[in-house]
C-alpha cells in the first residue's frame, strides 16, 4: 500500500526505499541520512582504513536487497547496521588486530602504531582503562561482541538489534547477557593482562 502513495516532502526511510523502485536515485537520501553514523561505527569496529570501504559495500548490498526491507519499519538504521555487521564477519581478524593494538600501545609506549591510530594513542593516556576494555572485547565470541557493540556504540534497542540481526529478541537478550558476563570475566584484575591467553582465543570461531 505504502508503495503506491505519493512521495511526501518529508519521507521516512521506508518511503525512500519503496520509492527507489521508480527512482533508484532516491537511494541517495537514505545514504546521506546514515552514512556518517555507519562509518563512525565501523571505524570503531575495524579501524579507519577499511571502515569507509565497508560502509560503501553495505549500502550497495542494501540497495540490492531492498525488496526484503520490512516497510513497516520507518527507520532503516537497524537494518543497515545489520547488513554492516554481517559484512564485518569477514573482517574479524582486522578487528582483533585493532583491539589488541590498543592494549599493546598502552602497555608499551614505545610501540609504533599505524598513522591512522595516532589520535587514539594520545587519548589512551587520558583513559587508563581503555586497553583493558579493548582486551576484553577482543576476547568475546563475535556474536556476543556484535550485540554488545550494536547496543552501546550504535545505540540500538533490543528490538532494533533483533531486527538488525534477524534474530528473536530473546536471543538478543541472552547474547547480551552472556556477552556482559564474559566481558566482566575478561576485564583483567589489577592491570594484569590476559593478552597472551586471549591471542588464540575466539579468533577461530
Amino acid at each position: 500500500v505504502r508503495r503506491e502513495e505519493p512521495v511526501l516532502e518529508v519521507s521516512t526511510d521506508a518511503d525512500v526505499i519503496a520509492a527507489c523502485d521508480e527512482d533508484p536515485e532516491r537511494f541517495r537520501e537514505l545514504f546521506e541520512r546514515h552514512f556518517g553514523a555507519m562509518v563512525a561505527y565501523l571505524r570503531r569496529r575495524i579501524g579507519p582504513d577499511i571502515a569507509e570501504e565497508l560502509a560503501v559495500e553495505a549500502f550497495a548490498v542494501a540497495f540490492r536487497r531492498r525488496v526484503t526491507y520490512n516497510g513497516e519499519r520507518a527507520n532503516a538504521r537497524p537494518w543497515l547496521f545489520g547488513i554492516a555487521t554481517n559484512l564485518l564477519r569477514h573482517h574479524r581478524r582486522a578487528e582483533q588486530r585493532m583491539l589488541r593494538a590498543y592494549a599493546r600501545t598502552a602497555v608499551d609506549p614505545e610501540h609504533q602504531l599505524d598513522a591512522g591510530y595516532e589520535a587514539v594513542e594520545a587519548r589512551i593516556d587520558a583513559h587508563a582503562a581503555a586497553p583493558r576494555i579493548a582486551l576484553a572485547l577482543a576476547g568475546l565470541p563475535s556474536d556476543e561482541r556484535d550485540v554488545l557493540l550494536l547496543h552501546t556504540w550504535a545505540n540500538l534497542s533490543y528490538a532494533e538489534m533483533a531486527d538488525a540481526l534477524e534474530i528473536p529478541i530473546g536471543t538478543v537478550r541472552s547474547r547480551l547477557s552472556r556477552g556482559r558476563s564474559r566481558f566482566r570475566e575478561l576485564m583483567p584484575v589489577d592491570g594484569q593482562s590476559r593478552f597472551e591467553e586471549l591471542d588464540e582465543g575466539w579468533e577461530a570461531r
Partner: protein, 300 residues
C-alpha cells in the same frame, strides 16, 4: 574509570576513544562509489518488483499448507522412507520461477542432512536447519549467514506466506522457504524455527512475555517472586530462577525461597513449559512505552 561504572557504561565510554564520523567532504566520493557498485538503472528494480508480486500470488496455497503442517506438528513422511534421495526430495519441494529456484519446506521435522542433500541435488550449497524455537519464533528465520562469495552475488530471498491466516504466534507473516537465484554461488547457513518436542530445549527463543509465549500477559515483570509463584503455578510454567547478581546466579536455577523478596525483571523461554526468569533485588522501574511493548502487550 570509576569503580561504580558498570560494564555497559564502560564499553560506551570506550567508544569515544575509537573514532568519529567522517567529514562532509567524504560524502560525495563515497556516494559515487556506492553508485558505481550498484550500477543501477530502472530495469533492475522494475524486474524485481514484478517477480515479487508474482511470488505473492503463486505461493499462498503452499504457504497455508506448510504452516498447517508446522502448527499441527505431524511427521509428514512415512517412517523408514528408503533411500537418501527420496528422503531429501520429500523434505523440500523445488520449482523454478523467473530465474529463481523456489524451495518450499515440506517436512517441518526434516533433519539438516536431508535438507542439505535436497539443496545439493539442485547444485546449491545451503545448510538449512530446522531448530526448536519458542512458540513465537516458530515459522521465522532465526539465523541467516552467507559466506563472502554468497554475499557478493544476488541475494537469497525468504519466502513469506501472503495468506492472512498464515501468521506466526507473534502476528508476523510465516516463512515457508527460500527463493534462491539460479546463479547462486557460495555457501549459506540458514535456520528456521520449528516447534520443540516436549522436554526439548529451545535453540532460540523470543521474549518470554511475547504473544504466543508462556508468560504473555502474565504481568510478571516487576512482580515479587513470592507473588509470582502462584501465577506460574496457575499457568503450569516451571521457572528456572536466575539472578542479575552474578555472585548468586547459576544456570541450573536458584532456589526461589532464597530470593522470595526479589523482583522479576526478564524472562526467556527455555523449553515447552519452562522459562528462565531473571530477578533483581530492587524493584525495576516500569518499562518506558515503546512500539515494541505496545505490540508485545496488545490485548493484555
Amino acid at each position: 574509570m570509576g569503580g561504580e561504572m558498570n560494564d555497559l557504561e564502560m564499553v560506551r565510554a570506550f567508544r569515544a576513544e575509537l573514532g568519529t564520523e567522517p567529514g562532509p567532504d567524504r560524502l560525495e566520493p563515497a556516494w559515487l562509489a556506492v553508485r558505481e557498485r550498484i550500477a543501477f538503472g530502472p530495469d533492475v528494480s522494475v524486474g524485481r518488483r514484478r517477480r515479487y508480486r508474482r511470488r505473492r500470488v503463486s505461493l499462498a496455497l503452499a504457504a497455508a499448507a506448510l504452516i498447517a503442517a508446522l502448527v499441527a506438528l505431524p511427521a509428514l513422511l512415512p517412517s523408514g522412507t528408503p533411500g537418501s534421495a527420496d528422503r531429501a526430495g520429500a523434505a523440500v519441494s523445488f520449482s523454478q520461477d523467473d530465474g529463481f529456484i523456489v524451495a518450499v519446506i515440506e517436512d517441518p521435522n526434516a533433519d539438516s542432512e536431508a535438507l542439505r542433500e535436497a539443496f545439493a541435488q539442485h547444485g546449491l550449497d545451503i545448510t538449512l536447519q530446522l531448530v526448536p524455537a519458542s512458540p513465537s519464533a516458530v515459522g521465522t528465520f532465526v539465523y541467516f549467514s552467507l559466506d563472502e562469495t554468497a554475499q557478493q552475488g544476488p541475494a537469497i530471498e525468504t519466502l513469506a506466506s501472503d495468506d492472512p491466516a498464515c501468521t506466526t504466534a507473534g502476528g508476523g507473516s510465516c516463512q515457508i522457504g527460500l527463493r534462491v537465484p539460479v546463479d547462486f554461488q557460495g555457501h549459506a547457513d540458514i535456520a528456521l524455527g520449528r516447534p520443540a518436542d516436549p522436554g526439548e530445549k529451545y535453540s532460540t527463543a523470543n521474549d518470554g512475555f511475547a504473544a504466543g509465549e508462556a508468560l504473555h500477559c502474565s504481568g510478571l515483570y516487576g512482580m515479587a517472586v513470592q507473588t509470582a509463584l502462584p501465577v506460574l503455578s496457575e499457568r503450569g510454567v516451571m521457572a528456572i530462577w536466575r539472578s542479575t547478581d552474578q555472585s548468586i546466579d547459576t544456570v541450573d536455577g536458584i532456589d526461589p525461597t532464597t530470593i522470595a523478596g526479589q523482583y522479576v525483571t526478564d524472562a526467556i523461554p527455555a523449553a515447552p513449559g519452562e522459562v528462565y526468569i531473571w530477578v533483581t533485588p530492587d524493584q525495576p522501574s516500569p518499562l518506558p512505552p515503546s512500539d515494541y511493548l505496545q505490540r508485545r502487550d496488545e490485548g493484555c
